[in-house]
Amino acid sequence: MLELMLALPFVLALVLAILRDAPARAVAWLAGLAPLLALAVLAWLTPAVMAGDIPRAMHEWLPQAGLAFSLRLDGLGWMFAAMVLGIGALVVLYAHYYLGPQEKTRRFFCFLLLFMGAMLGMVLSGNLLLTVVFWELTSISSFLLIGFWFHRDDAREGARMALTITAAGGLALLGGVVMIGRVVGSYELDAVLAAGDAIRANELYPWILGLVLAGVFTKSAQFPVHFWLPHAMAAPTPVSAYLHSATMVKAGVFLLARLHPSLAGTDLFFYVVSTVGALTLLVGAWNAIFQHDLKGVLAYSTISHLGLITLLLGLSTPMAVVAALFHILNHATFKASLFMAAGIIDHETGTRDMRRLGGLRRIMPYTSALAIIASLAMAGIPLLNGFLSKEMFFAQALEIEGHEEMRWFITVAAFLFATFGVAYSLRFVRDTFLGRGPRAVEDEVHEPPRFMQVPVAILVVTCVAVGIAPQWTIGPALATAASGVLGEAVPDYSLAVWHGINTPLLMSLGGVVCGVLLYLVLNRVLDLHAVVRQSQGRRLFHLNIEALFRLGRRFTHTVANGSMQRSLLWLVLVAIAAGAAPFVAAWGEPREPVAFVAQPMVRLAWVLWLLLVCSALGTLALYRHRLLAVLVMGGCGLAVSLTFVALSAPDLALTQLLVELVTVALMLLGLHYLPKDSPPERTRWRRLRDGAVALAAGAGAAALAWTMMTRPPTNAVAAEITARSLPEAWGSNIVNVILVDFRGFDTLGEITVFGIAGLVVHAMLRHARMAPEKVMPGPPIKLPVPADLAQMMFPLTLVVSIFLFLRGHNAPGGGFIAGLTLAVPLLIQYVIQGAASVETRFGFDYIRAIGLGLLIALFGGAASMLLDLPFLSSGHYDLELPLLGTIPLASAAVFDLGVYLVVFGSTMLILSMMGTLKPSKKMIAHRGTIDPATRSAITGEAS
């Protein structure tokens, strides 16, 4: 049943969201159906709750986190549910008439039901985490409701402010709840309520209390974060009537009541909660006097009343709790009706500014009467419900024990509360309904549609009924609710209107008198209409938020400005730090000597070393003249290749050499489209800094390499590979065997990378509009002699390529090297004969070559999967041919063939794309041509 009740608003919200073109009336009916049906369910459950039963429902949600979908309907929940649904139903009725035909009513009711569901869920929740879930849902849905008129700046700002503050509180609450869960070991409300002593005794208690209260205070608009509530008045009035009088702002005090058994009962609780409540009460009431906006008065008054409730809950005596619950109900009724009345006034006159209103008593007598009664209830005038709870409050304030100073403070606060309450109520009534008629409002002000008044009337009647016959009307409900909080400890209390003449009654009377006097004095002395009170809270909030955004922007712009140089600098620095840290940390420790025999250094090796070092430094020295840098770097590549040869790595040397050749070609191709040299560095400081960083990096790398090489090797794996290479992988060139067999999967990835590189280049250049940096004048040169020679070479290189491919498994070579050996000569053809000439003769779809190569490699590797062996398991077969003898066939060769094709295809694709860019005419003109006479022979560039 509880599930059904909870589901109703959500389901109907969904229905509303889906229904596209429903008429407004149907939408309203559907929306109203939710609270009405839910009320019916609630009514059905009421006898059980009244009897002290707690109907429950439990569904697992996330047991690991202790989050369960558990619902429980105890007295407190019952009271709130009734309030949420009852006032909800009235608000729906009211809103139907309030919203104009051009408003998006469907969306409004959808949000409203969403909120109603969230609120209902919160009060029904039997699991604290679930409470948090619904708690935040109320924040979100109230955000949507406040911002319903989102074309208005104040609506957007109000919504954001409300969400920011309440969501922050929600996060704090989450923290508090999780801590409670840690202490109690469960989030189930029953367990938590039973574990009050454990919680209070735990060292985390102050934290728990602080976090939970942060949630409570933000939600219930307590000082000093109360300021969001007045700004939330930008919402349509039904929203204010619902959220800001009866429900959402009560969520905070609800939770305080809910957790009262677990958290209350310590001095800390008492002092913090009652002080905050008292301050809020005063601040709210005082500010309410100076508002000009009808809803502003109501909002500050709400703050003040919420402060009262909080204060009562802070006092923590059973009687105070009862008073708090009682006041929650009372406040909901009179405030909701007042909001609705304010909405009607706004609706009819077009303004809510009391300075422009007045005399409405004559124009809309019925509404005025209702509103005046509700105002009197707000002021705590006898025979209305507000009076009763206020009396109870006074009594409690006077009965505080053990905290003498608090008793005084709170009693004074209570008296001031009464005084201010009377004052602002008076102002509200007088400025709106009495006095001269409305100024500067549109004409034809009249009573609203009848059904718009019905909800107000119902609420006001309730106020009066409760005020006159409390025991008879509200008694059972209050008793039920009180038992929900206090359990067995519900005190004896009397809900009589007349308790005889006692101090509280005198205080009330004094309050009324002082209130009237205060109003008169203020009105005379200060001219209330002229006082303009800025909300300090808003200003502070605004400043803070803006400061936050500014801080964010400043930080982000200084730190993460998108500069690549900075990224790379950080990377280098962090790498240096990571490399150096362990050595620095181990600096002082004694080091065991390492038995290390260096390889002898022949003089020839020094030649290589010189070649390497000099060309590296040469590249560095010449980097600004790019052509020269590329040239000198060629020496570097050669040196590395020769080093590999010298150190027994022929395969590597071959690969490095070929890659080097192609890289040089690529760089020169690219250089054609890039500036010829780099401009000088901006600052000397930067050069020095980078130099120092580079020096550190270089030294670090050298040190790491040295340290590594002087350690004894651990090469059991290498030994095993070496031993198993021939017998099990049928290859003598161990490096190639590793590439196509032991670690063939690496190679598969590697050729994929290579193939993708081709595709990327193709994709980037296919539609590119590029202009060379400078063009040489004149037509392309013809090079007949080299062309002839190159043409002669091509078939021979093809032969070598095939040779290298076939022999690769047993001698230096293999698919990769062979593929490049084929591609490089073709590059020469491009260079010497020109791209057009080659491509017309040698039309080759390089992209498909890549695809085909990948497929071949894939199928070569996957063949073994047919035999239920893993991918890339190599097979070996000696093909006996009659004339030719034995031909060894290895499945790895198929794989290598794929490599061959991909490498060839991709290299050629890259080269041909870069070589055949067709520049646009316009851009050539833009960058100009080179005058051969101005070229420097030293750099080869035009000077």
Partner: protein, 125 residues
């Protein structure tokens, strides 16, 4: 017999090394690009040729890899060296090094390209 071949190999190696060194010295010593161009391209060709022949012989006798494959290297060198030389001189010509005043030891005749005998115009070099 063996001694003779060994001697021959040694001579080949010496000759080869000598010419390679000549190439290097020429490259460093000569004063102007086109002169330098002569030294290494050809001295190296002969030098490397000799070394390669020696290598063939050496492997033939040392029995480590008794095949004359190194000859292919010679073949390739013979094909590629002219291509390189041709292109490098074209590059040098295109930079008009004759108009560059500061080369030491430069004389007019070195870098001055005479007009074509038939007066034909040849911009392209």
């Amino acid at each position: 017999m063996n001694v003779f071949w060994e001697l021959l190999l040694v001579v080949l190696l010496l000759v080869g090394s000598f010419f390679i060194l000549m190439g290097g010295i020429g490259l460093v010593k000569l004063s102007e690009f086109f002169r330098r161009l002569h030294a290494p391209t050809k001295a190296s060709t002969l030098g490397v040729g000799c070394v390669l022949v020696a290598s063939v012989g050496y492997h033939l006798f040392m029995d480590s890899d008794p095949q004359p494959r190194e000859l292919l290297i010679v073949a390739f060198l013979l094909i590629t060296a002219p291509i390189s030389a041709h292109l490098m001189s074209k590059a040098a010509l295109s930079l008009r090094m004759d108009e560059w005043p500061q080369l030491p030891g430069k004389s007019d005749e070195d870098t001055h390209v005479p007009p074509r005998p038939d007066g034909g115009d040849d911009d392209g070099y």
